[in-house]
Symmetry: C2
Subunit: 167 residues, 2 copies
């Protein structure tokens, strides 16, 4: 009987969880290794911080967007970025425009990269957690091991953030 009760309880819990995800209209989001960072809900609607271009072999157009905490910090020049700051960099293959020979446009999406500021949780990596996603799924742990080392070696004096706000 006890085992049966357990099974019923587990089934009920599972059903509730699935119902919650269905209700929220979201699939469970996969977390990046090391940091547990997930793709933040609604980031595709966040305001623009700045665009960038990456030469071959990546040959990409990229745009960094920020949540409200990030945008406030950029605009008021608050550094270090406060806890709760989230930055997302979207990237696409750069393709020739079909309309203008002089122009390039965004092609297929490549990676989405996330930085989350939580000075306690991520104390050992300058207060930042990192996530790198391809097709909505996080890449492997080895790739995530490279994130903070690179940011720390180049832009530690800018609170580990490469991107400046585009005026």
């Amino acid at each position: 009987m006890k085992a049966q009760h357990c099974a019923v309880a587990i089934a009920a819990g599972l059903a509730l969880t699935l119902t919650w995800f269905a209700y929220a209209g979201q699939k469970p989001r996969s977390a990046a290794p090391i940091y547990g960072v997930t793709l933040p809900a609604g980031y595709r609607d966040w305001p623009l911080v700045a665009p960038a271009q990456e030469a071959a072999p990546f040959d990409e157009l990229r745009v960094v967007v920020g949540n409200p905490t990030a945008m406030r910090a950029y605009r008021k020049n608050v550094r270090p970025f406060p806890d709760g700051t989230v930055l997302v960099k979207l990237a696409w293959k750069r393709e020739p425009s079909p309309d203008f020979a002089s122009a390039s446009v965004s092609g297929s999406a490549t990676t989405v990269q996330v930085m989350v500021k939580d000075s306690k949780r991520y104390a050992s990596s300058g207060g930042w957690g990192y996530g790198r996603f391809v097709g909505g799924q996080p890449v492997d742990e080895a790739q995530h091991r490279t994130c903070h080392a690179c940011h720390a070696s180049r832009v530690k004096d800018r609170d580990y953030v490469f991107t400046h706000y585009a005026p």
Copy 2:
């Protein structure tokens, strides 16, 4: 006495108008020639439609953002774009990144270009009004005469809009 009343009324009206602008925290926005299009309030916080790059001599990074009507139309593939659609293209000089030899980043802002859909008001230009701004001020009428001619000659079959939504 009548003239005095008039002067008082005009002064009061002027004061109210100035107070309104001060209250709204906005300067009066200058309107583009031909179309009367102005820089829309809050566009710097609008979501991203797509990035682009323009080769020399412009050598720019550009990003198109859209108001909620524009974003809904893009995402639901509604064409022609409904009245109330507003698209804004921001542009910056492309500069070498100080951090990566392979990267370019946004430098100084150059132009901001606006398209507003109003099928009645702009019936003679495919339903679109155009505005081109430098330093927050509209450029001259001659430049505005080129907008619709170019859009009509190249992308009339896409409701006169060049930019596709970046996935």
